[in-house]
């Protein structure tokens, strides 16, 4: 039968029937239902199994504090575990499955754990899996891992997408219940820019589940009027399905909007909002807690307020014969409302005396009341069947409405390590008003104000305070008429006469006995008890359970609740999917991809690309008939060395340095002297860190008067620029010098090889003479190419060949590489990539990233003489430290295998023959290697202990990870053209 528990009324749309499945059975519900209310409407009360004992569990709450009703939401090939059925807005074709049960929800194998409960007490893992030690990794851990955890993850990528947004307002109101809506109405009418964030998909908060009057109308109508008025205000933004989960520095709040959730695929599924607001009214309400009594976890036991929600809001009969068990007045409201809807209430069991509850009892003459009584036991397994009271009476019921009092939702007031205060009058923790986050006010039930009238009044008052703080006139509005019955409750945590286990934390299966045992075993701090028993550590973070736990600790230790205290509150207040935190920054969008000016050309020419930082650079350009990358690289090297090659070097950092003091400034940041560099000349430069280690290397070009262009390595471009700005602004601000990064403004190509000059002559304009006499090695100049296009030419060589670097404004980069390629055809031009570049630099013995690794000094790299002692420069003083000038340091050398067929590996360590491969005998390591087509052998660069004295020595390169032990000989790092004749040619 379809929806047999559906009753009249409620805030559902009976015209919109929605189909859904739970554990593959088909059901229907209505628009406005949650999955939980739709399940209850279909008489499904058993929805899951608990974590440890696999006990059958039903729906406890009607909102985000739900510990039990966790399901897997299934969408296509993916599923989301641990979704709270009480917060999932029902949609058509929703598919959900129960979790933590096998083979089925009703007959679960691991429920046998329940029989072993005496062994599975607090600290079970700590006590049991201690010995033998060797069992831990192979036996215990796999065992625990299989049994532990709720739900299952899918290892496929998340098909949904998420977004991140920023919003600003004068006033952020968190929670749209009576207090929040009232505050919004007051501040909205005075014209404030407001955001009202509500976790639920409907506005109204607690009032949605109540059946009372405000301003002479039903509270649901009052909500509708207020929401409609607010919606019509252009300066008010109502955000439903939006949970503010964190309070951060300087009035920054983070909220999770479940934007489309699983309803459709248009738009992001969830959005994380950063909301900036100097003023905040926290109107987050309060959540009800339960009472611990024997078998109080049976399906059918429900919070009293949740029963009202299902009856009044969702038009669902949560049970047909209900007993109310309460320690406060609000439990009685449930009895009243169920009775009004024709649901039988068989008993109100109030732990208070007749005298204590007399005021409210007067209004309920028709229901049997058991004063100063308690439920000591629940009968039934998959569903409540009956209860036994302290006085011995047994009553047949199929539902129990429990109210153990209310916990103001103070989480957001305490995220900066504030400690809340225990308020005995309402038997709950409230925020410490003196230590609220700056700009925050608390209104309504969130600060323990529990009558509708007073909550509305508080919302109004707090809004008026904000208005006056912002210099606005305060509102003349009056508090609407509403229920003003005072609230009375009595602190009561658990039924001590119970012989059965009494649950505190339903999700993690923590019982009163576990807490008492933990205290007995010496865990006195609430933080320790929490971790030892796992109280409040499940996905619901103890919203219903932790205060009960604290109460029982206090009772057991004979301390006050204030002395016992709470655990520390930390963001987030609600569970946040990792995907939502990542927002749009996933996969390729994690960071931008930087493409070089020749990228399109390279793609058309079949280039393979390599990621270097954010850059995509051409790695090599395979020919059709080449099957191995090394064939391509060898061809590119030989083509460059024999004829001419071209490669994109735009990724090198380029910094433009100008000003009267530019040269003096560069003397400070480079360890070698720059101020003696003539105009139209370049110089190799090394920057040290202040501690004397090499930071980066590059070239300095004195391109015009007081105008230099310096280059950095690709990898260090950002850090070097930051460092130079630090030097300029923080150390020598009196210097007349300006810096700007021009890395992306200029496209730059290296043209290298014996025919490079001939090729260039066909590209540059005629009036520039680049003959060896006029434009020798290390010359530079501003020139023009292709009939007047501005360009810069540098005669630099990384390859060791006669070579030039030609730079043009980046917008000409694509055209230039195509032009070079076209002209180059007559010179057998070879485009080459980073691999060939690397081979040629190793052949030349140039240090690069692998050698500039943050451990090496200029001396280690054979460049010690460059550190000028005639001037101050960064790192100069500390580069002379004892440890950095030790003659036994590792220095740069070349290595070759004794047998040229042997391959050496980067990272291999070097040992003398016949010595054990242990750290004590370690002589250094191979930092770079390549196959050199010029030498027909593998070659490498290595950092070797007093290496310069070892040229010619035969040692071993050992790589224990790859079982390699290769005989090598030590050489000068300059394998190819050591005298540099080719580059000057």
């Amino acid at each position: 039968m379809s929806q047999k528990n559906r009753i009249d009324g409620g805030l559902i749309d009976r015209q919109s029937t929605l189909n859904f499945t739970f554990d593959d059975h088909h059901y229907t519900g209505f628009k406005g239902d949650t999955l939980a209310s739709a399940l209850l409407a279909n008489n499904i009360t058993l929805v899951g199994r608990s974590f440890k004992y696999h006990r059958p569990r039903g729906i406890l709450t009607s909102g985000s504090s739900e510990p039990n009703a966790l399901v897997e939401l299934i969408k296509g090939s993916t599923k989301e575990p641990n979704s709270r059925a009480t917060t999932i807005k029902l949609f058509d074709e929703l598919k959900a499955k129960s979790q933590n049960c096998w083979p089925s929800l009703k007959y679960d194998v691991q429920s046998i754990n329940d029989c072993f409960a005496p062994f599975l007490t607090a600290g079970f893992y700590y006590k049991t899996f201690m010995w033998p030690k060797s069992f831990w990794e192979k036996v215990y851990e796999p065992l625990i891992r299989r049994a532990a955890g709720l739900g299952e993850l899918v290892s496929l990528p998340d098909p949904d997408h998420y977004d991140r947004g920023y919003r600003h307002c004068d006033l952020l109101i968190i929670g749209a219940g009576a207090a929040g809506l009232m505050a919004g109405l007051v501040a909205g009418r005075q014209g404030l820019n407001i955001i009202i964030a509500e976790e639920d998909f409907l506005f109204g908060g607690r009032l949605l589940g109540e059946n009372e009057e405000i301003n002479g109308m039903h509270c649901h109508d009052w909500i509708e009027n207020v929401v409609n008025e607010l919606k019509a205000m252009p300066h008010v933004r109502l955000m439903a399905k939006t949970a503010v989960f964190g309070v951060f520095d300087q009035q920054t709040y983070y909220a999770l909007e479940r934007f489309t959730d699983q309803i459709d695929t248009i738009g992001p599924r969830q959005i994380i909002w950063e909301i900036n607001s100097k003023h905040v009214i926290l109107a987050s309400g309060a959540t009800e807690r339960h009472i611990a009594f024997g078998n109080n976890d049976r399906p059918g036991v429900m919070l009293a307020s949740a029963m009202r929600d299902y009856t009044n809001r969702f038009a669902v009969r949560p049970a047909s014969r209900v007993a109310v068990f309460t320690n406060n007045d609000s439990g009685w409201l449930t009895a009243r409302d169920l009775d009004k809807k024709g649901i039988e209430v068989t008993a109100i069991i109030d732990v208070r005396s007749e005298y204590e509850h007399q005021k409210i009892a007067k209004k309920y003459p028709n229901i049997p009341v058991y004063s100063q009584d308690q439920i000591i036991k629940v009968h039934g397994y998959n569903r409540v069947k009956a209860i036994t009271l302290l006085n011995g009476a047994k009553i047949h019921v199929d539902g129990i409405a429990v109210s153990g009092g209310w916990n103001p939702s103070i989480h957001l007031t305490c995220q900066h390590r504030q400690r809340p205060t225990w308020n005995d009058a309402i038997s709950g923790f409230v925020a410490n008003e003196a230590s609220l986050p700056s700009g925050m006010k608390v209104a309504g039930a969130a600060k323990g104000t529990y009558t509708t009238k007073m909550v509305l009044q508080d919302g109004l008052n707090q809004a008026n305070i904000v208005l006056s703080e912002l210099g606005h006139a305060s509102s003349k509005m009056h508090t609407p008429s509403a229920n003003d019955d005072t609230y009375h409750g009595k602190t009561f945590w658990s039924v001590k006469e119970t012989k059965q286990r009494a649950w505190i934390d339903f999700q993690n299966d923590v019982t009163t006995k576990d807490i008492r045992l933990a205290v007995q075993e010496g865990f006195y701090s609430v933080e320790h008890v929490k971790r030892y028993t796992t109280l409040g550590m499940a996905t619901d973070q103890g919203k219903t359970s932790s205060v009960i736990g604290i109460g029982i600790i206090a009772e057991t230790m004979n301390k006050s609740i204030q002395e016992t205290g709470t655990t520390i509150f930390r963001a987030p207040y609600v569970p946040i999917a990792i995907g939502a935190l990542g927002g749009p920054h996933s996969g390729k969008h994690f960071r931008p991809t930087r493409e070089t000016p020749s990228h399109q050309f390279a793609r058309e020419n079949n280039a393979k690309f390599v990621e270097t930082g954010a850059w995509l650079r051409s790695q090599y350009f395979p020919d059709k008939n080449e099957s191995h990358w090394r064939e391509s690289v060898n061809r590119e090297v030989l083509g460059t060395r024999n004829n001419v090659g071209v490669t994109d070097v735009s990724t090198l950092g380029k910094i433009d340095v100008q000003g009267k003091d530019a040269a003096a400034f560069l003397d400070k940041v480079y360890c070698n002297t720059i101020s003696t560099l003539n105009m139209q000349r370049c110089r190799y430069g090394i920057m040290l860190r202040e501690d004397g280690i090499v930071m980066d290397d590059g070239t300095v070009a004195h391109i015009a008067n007081n105008h230099f262009i310096v280059t950095t390595t690709t990898a260090n471009a950002v850090q070097v620029y930051r460092h130079m700005e630090f030097c300029r602004q923080c150390l020598w601000p009196e210097m007349d010098v300006a810096l700007i990064s021009i890395t992306e403004q200029w496209a730059q190509y290296a043209i290298a090889g014996p025919k490079s000059r001939h090729l260039l002559e066909k590209i540059i304009d005629n009036d520039h003479d680049i003959s060896n006499t006029h434009f020798p090695y290390m010359a530079c100049d501003e020139i023009s190419i292709c009939n007047g296009i501005r360009a810069r030419l540098f005669r630099l060589s990384f390859s060791g060949e006669m070579a030039y670097e030609l730079a043009v404004p980046a917008r000409y980069g694509d055209a230039l590489i195509r032009h070079i390629h076209e002209i180059g055809k007559t010179f057998n031009l070879t485009p080459y990539g980073t691999e060939a570049l690397g081979v040629m630099r190793i052949e030349k013995g140039h240090a690069a990233g692998n050698e500039l690794n943050g451990q090496t000094t200029a001396g280690d790299l054979g460049l010690g003489k460059m550190v000028s002692k005639k001037k101050d420069s960064i790192g100069n003083v500390l580069s002379e430290r004892e440890g950095l000038t030790d003659p036994m340091r590792l220095v740069l050398v070349g290595v070759m295998p004794c047998d040229s067929k042997h391959k050496i590996t980067s990272g291999s360590h070097i040992f003398a023959n016949n010595l054990a491969c242990i750290p004590d005998n370690d002589l250094g390591y191979i930092s770079s290697m390549a196959y050199s087509p010029m030498l027909n052998s593998y070659i490498g660069l290595a950092m070797l202990r007093n290496g310069t004295d070892r040229f010619g020595e035969k040692l071993r390169a050992v790589n224990l990870l790859q079982n390699q032990d290769i005989a090598i000989k030590i050489t000068s790092p300059h394998f190819y053209d050591p005298k540099g004749e080719r580059l000057r040619g």
Binding site: F248, D249, Q250, Q729, D872, V877, R881
Partner: protein
């Protein structure tokens, strides 16, 4: 966290990178005697207090100003933001 940039107004912390103790402004004079000790103290002996702290921040994703931010490291309250160059110039004149 937001940093109230003296030229640009409040900017999100994600636009900045932090270097730490503003003591790094006081680089020893190269002519000082016992340079090695002075540089050692300058580079390695830096404060990292709980509470108010003067720190160097770089507006990397912005105007590339180096700033001196006086910040409470416990509460993240920022009480003062200055351009480093202005501070150094002023201190230079005071000397």
């Amino acid at each position: 966290m937001k940093i109230n940039h003296p030229l640009l107004g409040p900017r999100n912390e994600s636009e900045f990178t932090i270097l730490g103790d503003a003591k790094l402004l006081n680089r020893p004079n190269i002519l000082e005697s016992n340079q090695a000790q002075a540089f050692y103290e300058y580079l390695y002996l830096r404060d990292n207090p709980i509470g108010m702290h003067r720190e160097l921040w770089f507006h990397e994703q912005g105007d590339r100003s180096w700033l001196i931010v006086t910040r409470n490291t416990l509460t993240h309250e920022i009480s003062k933001v200055e351009l480093a160059a202005n501070v150094v110039n002023k201190e230079g004149q005071a000397k």
